[in-house]
Symmetry: C2
Subunit: 238 residues, 2 copies
């Protein structure tokens, strides 16, 4: 009934086009449209801090950070805090969010000064996506914002395994450093145990026969990644 009423109101709204775009973007019919209009107003169009999207970006950034933290905390029950922190920062960093926002089509909706060429490098679409999350939170509350972030952002646009596997670069980086400096590197499985229903591996990295770092994970690849990252730190390889 509420949905039907929203739909009828929508058909008679002067913002009909915006409403249809928002519904497509959000996966639900928004209630309080001014929040979303504000989320789409970049400072270059509207200077007044009360009407542009910067305050909503502050709120949305914090809500997104909390929900991504919760998601990772539950998805990776055995990873240490450092791993979760690193993975979260890869998901919420400006480049990732700006890329997601562009693929969502936000550049067609954000109101900004198109003559200001300096803006091209300022991640305005990713910032608008954060502001949009702030608007969803104010309009729909915490639980629906969580669903929005999972269903409309993380699931379709964020490839967490790809972000994680940037870690394999650490392994490659370590191996190429060792080759260049004529060191002998090997990855050894130090431990395998069963935690609840899952297996847990510890992989150690040997440099010229000496253990320099170790890492733990659900599979050997993951454990090796954690270990390689630590080894690069220990060995001060940039």
């Amino acid at each position: 009934m509420a949905r039907l009423r929203s739909r009828i109101l929508q058909l008679f709204s002067p913002n009909k086009q915006l409403l249809l775009q928002l519904e497509h973007l959000l996966g639900f019919i928004p209630k309080h449209i001014p929040y979303y209009e504000m989320a789409l107003n970049h400072r270059s169009k509207i200077d007044d801090a009360q009407d542009n999207n910067e305050r909503l970006e502050f709120l949305g950034d914090a809500i997104l950070g909390a929900l991504v933290a919760e998601y990772l905390f539950k998805r990776y029950p055995y990873q240490p805090e450092g791993y979760l922190t690193e993975l979260r920062s890869r998901i919420v960093r400006r480049e990732t969010l700006n890329n997601v926002a562009m693929r969502m089509g936000l550049q067609k909706m954000v109101q900004y000064n198109k003559n200001d060429r300096g803006l091209s490098r300022s991640h305005i679409f990713g910032n608008a996506l954060e502001a949009l999350i702030g608007a969803v939170y104010l309009d729909q509350g915490f639980v629906k914002t969580r669903r929005f972030i999972l269903q409309q952002i993380i699931k379709p646009y964020i490839d967490i395994e790809l972000l994680e596997s940037t870690d394999t670069n650490y392994k490659n980086q370590l191996l190429s450093w060792a080759q260049k400096n004529s060191h002998n590197i090997s990855f050894d499985t130090l431990d395998e145990k069963t935690e609840g229903t899952r297996k847990l591996f510890t992989v150690g990295i040997m440099l010229n026969g000496e253990l320099v770092a170790s890492g733990t994970g659900f599979n050997k690849k993951e454990a090796g990644q954690v270990a390689a990252q630590k080894a690069l730190e220990v060995l001060s390889v940039s």
Copy 2:
């Protein structure tokens, strides 16, 4: 009924003392005690990342950040993003949280290696407070965590006006700089308007008769603080 049942269970619990301490600290009877036990385990006591409080600290830090952001966003509807960001960082910074945790008595509950003297400077109680927030979130959900943070942490322990008025130091700083350099500084009210039911002031800072910065707030003092902070930046006074 649920409360009575919890109370009866509590009286027969082997953890009776911990439960009573927690109830006092939290303002409610916790359900799943292992979360709280984990929140109180410092790494120096339990090395295993799955059993010490570091993962919960990661989660709690993010939840606290989001809830403080929401609180400030709603409390200061006219302050720009920069003001909210600065105030939030003063609330959630390690020194503030460690101080709050000590006043809450967390140092009597956290399990850590008391022989490790290096720990005294590492804010372990503030970190445990964040972990406790993570435990409350997992045990009680978002809405009750918000109530816990507002009622048990912000209201009794955080003096937001004091944290804000560190800004009055900016005003003093500006005035003493002007005096030392024989400049003439005055604070002028540039604008007064009514926004909804509240008054909004804009204060300008005149340096030798020339406007160098202005700020807006709900009262002249607040507006003057914002303006003074900007003036210090503009004039490159450290």
